[in-house]
Amino acid sequence: MGIKRLFAFLTLATIAPGVLAQETAQNVEGGAARWGVNMTQGVTEVSRTTYDLHMLIFWICVAIGVVVFGVMFYSMWRHRKSKGYEAAQFHESTLVELAWTIVPTLILIGMAIPATKTLYDIYDTKEADLDIMITGYQWKWKYDYMGSDVSFFSNLSTPQSQINNQQPKAANYLLEVDEPLVVPINKKIRFLITANDVIHAWWVPDLAVKKDAIPGFVNESWTRIEEPGIYRGQCAELCGKDHGFMPIVVKAVPEDEYHSWLSDRAAAAARIKELTNKTFTFDELYARGEEIYNSACVACHQAKGEGIPGTFPAIAGSKIATGPMDAHMSMVVDGSPSNPAMQAFGAQLSEVDLAAVITYQRSAFGNNMGDTVQPIDVLNFKNK
């Protein structure tokens, strides 16, 4: 009687949270479901196999748990001194010890077989249709489409005002970027993953791809996405202050759409290159520079150029931003010789953007140099 009731209670207690979660599952407007309790099944064969493997091990653990905890709760219910139960004095049994060594070993072998198979699948990076180089930076991702000129950075696009609670948070808060990684569906895409500064990890749950991005090493991974859609992920290895603010957005599109996107991107890159020879006014550069500053510099040097004392130097009133132009260009283009956190932006931004952001820094935050630098000057500086 008591046992039955206990069992019913346990069953209920196990199932209830799941049912509750089902019933209250609702979407954050336009975003992912709230109260999610489980791994995604994802949109690739590997992600589904991984999910099945995860559920298989989970249910085996549940079954073992029911037996072990069942015996425990039964004893705690029946074998108590308050009920006058006399203790048995048995102990030591080689047979029992052998049994509970051998049976778990067999169960483990049963788990290891499908796990090994899946692992071989995941490691098979041969014969890809498309290679994309992924480079982790503090705190953004760079994507290079191998064999084409297309290459760009992907930055968090959630505004600071949302993070600082001055504005309501959008549906994809912290999971949105300015430029997503666009890929074709039903193609084997190989990712070559590395990093420029510290270790990052590129993770998109729906693709079941997570690989460390390590400076000086190139790791390989692959995926073949079956459904068009937008898949979101995040950096998964602590990489410094803004580790939580470097999301990944993958946009999977049909193949023809992918090709037209790729040629558009290549054309846009060519247009930017042409602008290198144009002469801009101070206002044009200042306005463009403000935008660039807010995506490329603001994480460390902060919104008012004040920096973070002891960690990131201020730009407001700094010797570099109010000193000779060459030293300023050198700092931005080549990075700091003494502090690796100040990256070399020469390879990250176009000449136009570099000229704009340098001009902006020299006249913003109370710095009143009022001078300009033109894209062609930056190009000449780089070629010096």
Binding site: M39, S93, W100, P104, L108, A115, L119, G216, H243
Partner: protein, 516 residues
């Protein structure tokens, strides 16, 4: 005739008495537990809702780093050494530790190590912010200047641990009472003997890896810098060669404590003493060959992945033997549920749940989805909080009457247990969910779909924290007075410690007992 302790502060400064030193270790570790706990509460308060409210990301990273370092090296390890100091000599019938002066020193360098570590919070650039695993190059080229103080603090903690471990080995191997053969030693003594060997094996590896960092930072070497021909992944291999045995260092003595408590309150001998000893030794051996399961995503060759996956899965076998033994000991016993027993039963259940998630994490392809998410945070808190913290708490309640001569307040102990038990589960269980749903660990702010479970976890954390105040209050009350404890304290408990009066005199077993 044995003399008593010196009066005044010098008693504590100069003491070579294992009981005094044990008490100091325990009080110190409790202070660190509260400090590390406060940092955890800062983390949970920031994560109560999306957005940045209380701290900025840089400081948040300092909190996660310091919380981990302080809990591992300041709270859990010294607490176990404290229990070993108090109990090992009394359990084996020895008058004191084998190396009493070194014992004094190994304790007294600890407060300096942690004063130095904590002082980094007030330095320019802030405290270490690279996680308690301090992966290079984030902890070398990109570290705040305070990293040098962190390295020196780790050196001192390591020296303290090694000295403590040597002392314990020397005591157990040389000072057992006549008749106390190895296979008659209480399991707490056995597990500590094995733990001490683990410490001696891996603390020098930790010292080595931080020294290599020091060289990279200040002397121009490039052990961990790819640009100079070094290898950032080498750091992780060396760190986890220390780090994995380290997690067993934090759990093996717990196995010993629980193996003492469950038979007492089940009034039934431990089911399989010798298999428990062998299982402990197997776990210790396996702990040396599984380290790279912390690194499944670094891009190891598939042969490496498979080896570390299989070896890790194997750990489930001896661990299962231990759990089955505790359950079988309870089965058909005559159980009562005093506070130490409640904590021990919760230990068995919750540690097993942590073991299950550990088994899931061992499966390399599935780990690619779990790795560095809150699922991992849930896993290791399920093995460390109910594992290490609950067992230490159980041990303190179990032996406190022997130490002080007074019974603690049982109702208050039970309230402490239930608050801690509920608080723990409310805090850490939802972390499994957000982890599986895709929330990375070590982030100060998160996407909206994770908000609900994070809010629940934060409420649980404050409940768990508040429960510890009750523990402190109960212990202080018991030290000051209360119902007198009998020499046996419990009903027919096994072990030499119960054959001496309560409170245990300043010097015990000046003449060794004879064990039959």
């Amino acid at each position: 005739m044995a003399h008593g302790p010196k009066p005044g502060f010098t008693r504590w400064l100069y003491t070579t008495n294992h009981k005094d030193i044990g008490s100091m270790y325990l009080w110190f570790s409790f202070a660190m537990f509260l400090l590390g706990g406060c940092m955890a509460l800062v983390i949970r308060a920031e994560l109560f809702q999306p957005g940045l409210q209380i701290v900025q990301p840089g400081f948040f990273n300092q909190m996660t780093t310091m919380h981990g370092l302080i809990m591992v090296f300041g709270a859990v390890m010294p607490a176990f050494v404290g229990l070993a100091n108090w109990m090992v000599p009394m359990m084996i019938g020895a008058p004191d530790m084998a190396l009493p002066r070194m014992n004094n020193w190994s304790f007294w360098i600890l407060p300096f190590a942690f004063a130095m570590l904590t002082s980094t919070l007030f330095m320019e650039g802030g405290a270490p912010d690279f996680g308690w695993t301090f992966y290079a190059p984030l902890s070398t080229e990109y570290a705040p200047p305070s990293v040098t103080f962190f390295i020196f603090a780790v050196h001192i903690m390591g020296a303290s641990s090694i000295m403590g471990a040597i002392n314990i080995v020397a005591t157990i191997l040389n000072m057992r009472a006549p008749g106390m053969t190895l296979m008659k030693m209480p399991l707490f003594v056995w597990t500590w003997l094995i733990t001490a060997y683990l410490l001696i094996a891996v603390m020098p590896v930790l010292a080595g890896v931080v020294t290599m960092m020091l060289m990279d930072i200040h002397f121009g070497t490039s052990f961990f810098s790819a640009a100079g021909g070094g290898d950032p992944v080498l750091f992780q291999h060396v760190f986890w060669f220390f780090g994995h045995p380290e997690v067993y260092i934090m759990i093996l003595p717990a196995f010993g404590i629980v193996s003492a408590i469950i038979p007492t309150f089940a009034r039934k001998p431990l089911f399989g003493y010798s298999s428990m000893v062998y299982a402990t030794a197997s776990i210790a051996f396996l702990s040396f060959i599984v380290w790279a399961h912390h690194m499944f995503t670094v891009g190891m060759p598939i042969a490496g992945e498979l080896f570390f996956m299989y070896a890790t899965m194997l750990i489930a076998v001896p661990t299962g033997v231990k759990v089955f033994n505790w359950v079988t000991t309870m089965f058909r016993g005559s159980m009562t549920f005093e506070t130490p027993m409640l904590f021990s039963i919760a230990f068995v259940i919750l540690f097993t749940i942590g073991g299950f998630s550990g088994l899931m994490l061992a499966i390399a392809p599935a780990d690619f989805q779990y790795h560095d998410t809150y699922f991992v945070v849930a896993h290791f808190h399920y093995v460390l909080v109910p594992g290490a913290i609950f067992s230490i708490t159980a041990g303190v309640y179990y032996w406190l009457p022997k130490w002080t001569g007074n019974m603690y307040n049982e109702s208050m102990g039970k309230v402490h247990f239930w608050l801690a038990f509920v608080g723990l589960n409310v805090t850490f269980f939802p972390m499994h969910f957000v982890g599986l749903a895709g929330m990375p660990r070590r982030i100060p702010d998160y996407a909206l779909q994770f908000a609900d479970f994070n809010q629940i976890a934060s409420v649980g954390a404050f409940l768990f924290g508040a429960a510890q105040i009750l523990f402190l209050f109960n212990v202080i009350r018991t030290v000051r007075g209360g119902k007198k404890a009998t020499d046996e304290v419990w009903e027919n408990p096994e072990g030499l410690e119960w054959s001496v009066p309560s409170p245990a005199p300043y010097h015990t077993f000046s003449t060794p007992p004879v064990v039959r």
